[in-house]
């Protein structure tokens, strides 16, 4: 029952291809009916050999065997092409839907789930489900139909002989099931042991610089050897040996059990031929029928495994599908795929997001508090940023600066208090249009392995060459880009060039600027840029920030001091606010920060 419920999600997908699957099932039946003919003709041919038979008749039987084999072949071909094909279509649909769902999931989901884990669900598990839908369904259908058809003809020849011949079949399927379960369990254990080795290698490779700098290579090799020996000689091989013992017996045993059925037929069937109860032709045909059963029987065990793995994997994929986007639009229906509509034809189309008239950019945090995993990160924040103003936020690591920004962009949802833009709570704005008004430069730069142009044009529907050029110029990345052989078409990342930390940050700034946002947010976005470039970027930004609401987060006094207001956060609360001069006069945290930076300089200069 549990299996059925995990597979429930697939019903809609399978339903979409119902007609084709029925056609496939028809082909299964027809191919089996055609296949069953051949032993019949064999029987007639052999039986008539005892009497007088013309060569023409023999030729006719032979021809019939070929004709029916061709028929069987055609239906077999159609069966595979249709049924495996359908599984590929469903896989495609399912993977698209999964990705669409992933696009809608909130940041918290990605923080709580490892990338590798999501990846393995979207790839390995998807593959297991595909196996269930393809070979799983196809071979199940084939085995069932073949069993029925062959059994009918075998019983037709001789009931007792049939029982003898099939005496080992229950043992075969029991053995398949038993071995399947044991193998599955042991296989999992081995996987566990193996993932430890993997983790070790992963860490080693990630830290290769340190290893080389401290000449730890031999020590690492020794450790790896010890670890894999430990697993291989003791646990791993031991576990594996268990598996080998079981596995080593599996296929030879299947062969033996099926072979024994054949011996029964030879022995008992032979006696029946002698007794004249069946003809020699029956005997040969019977042998042929038994041969027709052997592969589907072996396949049965395999199919059971496929179905078990497939439904386990579907369960794991369901975990993703069942995760609801934490943050979504209030008014929009609770569709798991918020931005995708499905029209009647079944093809997907994406609606144009509701575009709000441009906002003015007045931001207000009202009695805002926020807790993350039980820890209070923000306490009772009250702050109004007038439209067009530039505000800076300083504070120690962990004081809540980035959280404030995340709440504004609704990557986290505020729990207490309100955030208003132009006097309206941000929840009232459609998520798409809210974010489309923001240009955000994150603390950790993430660029895509695409061209520089695509990376800068990332957040806009269409970007002209001039727009990309202008954004790059303002972000001070243009001289760098012009220095690259392919300029804006230069690929970033593995297959292209590696940008320095500063170049990455400047590209990210260009990406935010090209959106022409009402609200510009720089979250410590100049940390990897040297002071000279910082100065130039800031000069350029001052121009852009005129008329836009801007929030700058930084550790550097030089970055924040020209802001209209400087906000000092400490342990989630606003402790100071004012202009650079006002705060210096106040002699609080900001003044201290400033003094410390001066003091350091003096100390160093001494």
């Amino acid at each position: 029952m549990k299996k059925l419920s995990t597979l429930h999600r697939l019903r809609a997908y399978v339903g979409r291809y119902r007609a084709r699957l029925l056609l496939g099932a028809l082909c299964v039946s027809l191919s089996n009916l055609a296949a069953i003919a051949s032993p019949r003709f064999l029987k007639y041919a052999i039986d008539s050999l005892g009497g007088s038979i013309s060569k023409e008749k023999l030729l006719a039987y032979s021809a019939l065997i070929v004709v029916f084999a061709v028929l069987e072949g055609i239906f077999l071909f159609l069966m595979r092409k249709i049924m495996i094909g359908v599984s590929r279509y469903i896989e495609y649909d399912l993977r698209n839907d999964l990705f669409a769902h992933l696009l809608g999931l909130s940041r918290r989901y990605y923080q709580n789930h490892k990338t590798g884990d999501i990846m393995s669900r979207a790839t390995n598990d998807m593959n297991a489900v595909r196996m269930l839908l393809g070979p799983g369904i196809m071979y199940s259908a084939n085995t069932i139909v073949r069993m029925i058809v062959v059994l009918f003809f075998m019983l037709h020849i001789h009931v007792t002989l049939t029982l003898f011949a099939l005496a080992t079949i229950p043992i075969v399927s029991l053995a398949v099931r038993y071995f399947g379960a044991v193998i599955h369990k042991r296989f999992e254990k081995i996987q566990e042991a193996f993932s430890e080795i993997s983790a070790r290698v992963q860490e080693n490779l990630a830290g290769i610089r340190v290893i080389k700098a401290f000449t730890q290579e031999s020590s690492e090799i020794e450790q790896f050897k010890r670890l894999s020996q430990e697993y291989i000689s003791q646990e791993y091989i031991h576990k594996n040996l268990g598996l080998i013992r079981v596995w080593g017996a599996f296929y030879p045993m299947l062969g033996a059990l099926l072979g024994v059925g054949g011996v029964f037929v030879l022995w008992f069937g032979g006696r029946e031929v002698m007794a004249g109860r069946i003809t020699l032709g029956d005997f040969v045909a019977f042998n042929a029928y038994l041969g027709m059963l052997s592969w589907p029987m072996i396949a049965l065990g395999w199919v059971i495994n496929i179905i078990e793995r497939g439904s386990a994997s579907m369960g794991r994929i369901n975990h993703i599908f069942d995760a609801q986007p934490e943050i979504k639009d209030d008014s929009v229906s609770v569709s798991p795929v918020p931005f995708i509509l499905q029209d009647k034809s079944g093809s997907r189309s994406l609606p144009a997001g509701p575009v709000l008239s441009e906002i003015q950019g007045e931001i207000e945090f009202k009695n805002l508090s926020f807790a993350y995993n039980g820890t209070r990160v923000l306490r009772d924040i009250n702050l109004r940023i007038p439209r067009g103003a530039t505000y800076s936020i300083v504070g120690e690591t962990g004081s809540g600066k980035s959280t404030l920004i995340n709440l504004l962009a609704r990557t986290y949802e505020s729990t207490d208090g309100e955030i208003l833009i132009d006097g309206l709570p941000i929840q009232k704005y459609p998520l798409r249009s809210l974010r489309s008004q923001m240009g955000y430069v994150p603390q950790e730069t993430f660029l895509f392995s695409d061209t520089i142009r695509e990376n800068i044009a990332f957040g806009v529907e269409e970007a002209s060459q001039t727009a990309v050029h202008e954004a790059a110029r303002l972000a001070q990345i243009l001289p760098d880009v012009e220095g690259f052989p392919k300029r804006f078409e230069t690929l970033i990342g593995e297959r292209g060039i590696t940008l320095s930390g500063g170049q990455q940050q400047r590209t990210a700034i260009a990406r935010a600027l090209i959106r022409n946002p009402r609200i510009l947010i720089l979250d410590d976005a100049l940390s990897s840029v040297d002071t000279y470039t910082e100065e130039r970027i800031l000069t350029a930004l001052k121009e852009i920030m005129r008329g836009r609401t801007s929030i700058l987060i930084s550790h550097r006094v030089s970055t924040v001091k020209f802001a209209d207001q400087i906000i000092v956060l400490n342990q989630g609360s606003i402790v100071e606010r004012g202009t650079h001069e006002e705060l210096l006069d106040r002699g609080g945290y900001y003044a201290e920060l400033y003094q410390k930076q001066l003091l350091e300089e003096e100390l160093a200069g001494a």
């Binding site: 030729l59 450790q223 993430f446 160093a604």
Partner: protein, 622 residues
């Protein structure tokens, strides 16, 4: 657009690769030989079945000899049981040997990875290298255990059947075998189709994986920039490519199975037609005819399996090609043949007209190197200087023992490269780097690297304990040395607050520790190894001021009595250096003390002004 691992369009069977793979069997030749012997015996037994049926029919069933039939049945059963035992032993031996080969191979890959130059790791992401050690090795395991021996078994069975049927009746055997060319034809066509679609499927899967990986990692950027629809459209395109490639491969496989089936039926029809005629003319016995039919069924079974085995072979070839490519990647930075071992290192460092480039400039190909990368190019006298993407240009300077040198400059000026070269992470193309007057390329590599304490901007911690992260694998470092080092770098206070002190668990990448704490652990690590020289790539941008002061103090302790080279982003931290080297666009532009350089009013002066002029003004006001 997305980066993905290009699947090498290798051959399904490459004799070079195969020969090299088979070399791994050599240490286990006895086991392999035994397995082959058993396989041969088991194949022989397998071939016996239909012949026994023939005897049963011709000698006993036709003559109504019940006892004889019993005897044949008994022999048949014994053969089956024997076959089972042999099969079991064979599988057992091969699986076990397979495991051992995998162990050898893994160790070889891992060992090679440890020795590869950093240039290799710059080009190859960890995830990909992991695949070499894990998935690719597993694929080969399948080849060794399921492929090689079983394939041989199949061949033996086929041969056995051919021998027996020709022995039974030469003419009928010839007639039955006349379908073989058809099988060849089908197989060749299948091979071509399957090979092409296999490659396309693999490439499509790699693209899907790369795309997913990147988008899951960067999901918040996708969402914040409203890129969902575009991302979805991109994914749909890639996913559709995967679908069509797969549908093509379904076609190839769907044709192959039925085609073999039809040929098999053709063979049986021929046997009935021609063999039946022979029976009538008493040239062939009933039993022999039945045996012929059974043999022809058995003959086509392994051929139908061929497509399965073909897959195994194909992926094994692709995997082994990738593994060998990795193993063949030259270790170009290695111990010199006759290394100079210095008795005592003074710590005198000198750069003499050093030129260095990571890449050759190539306007046609902007991405340098194939997937597995290539060694750093050595300077060919024929190539002109302008063909190189120089990172360092004619850099010369000298640091006396015990001196502290600060390197400053804009990002990308070549500061980090400078330090990497000192430790021989990369070799230079022109010039010389000297330690105590010896070219570092002649020095014992271990001694050279051990003489440096190296603290990177991004601290890398291993999973383990605080103590194990300070000691690493170096055996000579005592507990006391660890405590002392921790004390000296202001780490002690923090460690004492931990419930388990120095044996407190450190998670992967030190995820439970703050940046500042990690920094201090890295300092303790460097100090505990008591290096003669110190290289420090300063990271100051993301710690609070208190930690900053602790770090500042720790750096001062580290530098005491050592030749130190410090890369600094903030000028204030290096003003007490003996010498300041100002790097600009890969060249040294200024060298001198803080005061001297200020007086020069050059690049350093400008950097200084930018950093401090705004802060000095309000100070003057008060």
């Amino acid at each position: 657009m997305q980066h993905h691992e290009e699947e090498a369009l290798g051959k399904a069977y490459d004799s070079h690769l195969m020969r090299r793979l088979l070399r791994y069997l050599a240490p286990y030749r006895i086991q392999v030989f035994l397995a082959l012997l058993i396989t041969a015996a088991a194949s022989l037994l397998q071939v016996c079945g239909p012949y026994l049926t023939k005897i049963g029919i011709d000698r006993y069933i036709v003559t109504k000899n019940y006892e004889g039939l019993n005897k044949v049945a008994l022999i048949y059963v014994s053969i089956i049981i024997l076959g089972f035992l042999l099969g079991y032993i064979q599988t057992y031996i091969m699986q076990l040997t397979g495991q051992k080969i995998m162990y050898d191979l893994r160790l070889e890959i891992f060992t090679h990875l440890q020795r590869l130059p950093l240039a290799f790791f710059d080009r190859n992401p960890v995830g990909r290298l992991m695949t070499r050690v894990t998935t690719d090795v597993d694929v080969l395991n399948e080849l060794f255990t399921a492929g090689v021996v079983t394939l041989l078994g199949d061949v033996l069975v086929l041969l056995g059947i051919v021998v027996i049927i020709f022995y039974l009746n030469f003419k009928l055997a010839l007639v039955a075998m006349s379908v073989i060319p058809l099988i060849f034809l089908i197989t060749v066509v299948f091979k071509i189709k399957a090979r092409d679609s296999y490659r396309r499927v693999r490439t499509a899967i790699a693209r899907i994986n790369a795309f997913l990986q990147e988008h899951i990692t960067g999901m918040s950027i996708v969402q914040l920039f409203n890129h969902e629809r575009k991302s979805f459209a991109q994914f749909d395109e890639i996913n559709r490519g995967h679908l069509t490639a797969n549908l093509d491969s379904v076609m190839a496989y769907s044709v192959f199975f039925p085609a073999v089936q039809v040929v098999s039926a053709l063979a049986i029809a021929l046997i009935i037609w021609y063999g039946g005629g022979q029976v009538i003319e008493r040239e062939l016995s009933f039993g022999a005819l039945v045996a012929f039919i059974q043999y022809s069924e058995r003959f086509f079974r392994p051929i139908a399996d061929l497509s399965e085995k073909y897959n195994i072979l194909q992926s094994a070839m692709a995997s082994s090609e990738r593994i060998f490519k990795l193993l063949d990647f030259p270790i170009d930075i290695k111990q010199p043949e006759q290394p100079v071992r210095l008795k005592e290192i003074q710590g005198e460092i000198e750069f003499r007209h050093v030129w260095f480039a990571y890449n050759r400039l190539d306007p046609k190909k902007e991405s340098a190197g194939p997937a597995t990368g290539r060694a750093l190019p050595a300077l060919n006298p024929v190539t002109r200087e302008s063909e190189w993407d120089w990172v360092l240009k004619d850099v010369s300077f000298k640091v006396n023992p015990g001196e502290a040198v600060a390197v400053v400059g804009h990002t990308g000026a070549g500061k980090t490269t400078l330090t990497s070269l000192l430790m021989r992470f990369y070799d230079i193309q022109k010039g010389e780097i000297l330690l105590d007057g010896h070219d570092i390329r002649t020095l014992d590599l271990q001694q050279l690297r051990r003489s440096f304490g190296f603290v990177l901007q991004d601290v890398f911690l291993f999973s383990g304990t605080i103590a194990s992260n300070i000691r690493l694998g170096t055996p000579g470092i005592t507990e006391e040395a660890i405590y002392r080092a921790a004390q000296d770098v202001n780490l002690e206070e923090f460690v004492e607050e931990l419930p388990n002190g120095y044996v407190e668990e450190v998670k992967e990448r030190g995820s439970t520790l703050s940046t500042g704490q990690k920094q201090l652990i890295a300092f303790a690590r460097a100090l505990a190894h008591d290096p003669r020289n110190l290289i420090l790539d300063e990271a100051t941008s993301s710690v609070d001021t208190d930690t900053e002061l602790k770090i500042r103090d720790a750096i001062a302790r580290l530098m005491q009595g050592r030749t130190s080279i410090i890369i600094a982003h903030r000028l204030s931290t290096i003003q007490n250096a003996d010498k300041i080297i100002v790097m600009h666009k890969g060249q040294i532009r200024e060298i001198g003390t803080h005061q001297e350089l200020l007086a020069q009013r050059g690049i350093y002066y400008k950097l200084y002004q930018l950093q401090y002029k705004d802060q000095e003004l309000p100070l003057a006001r008060t």
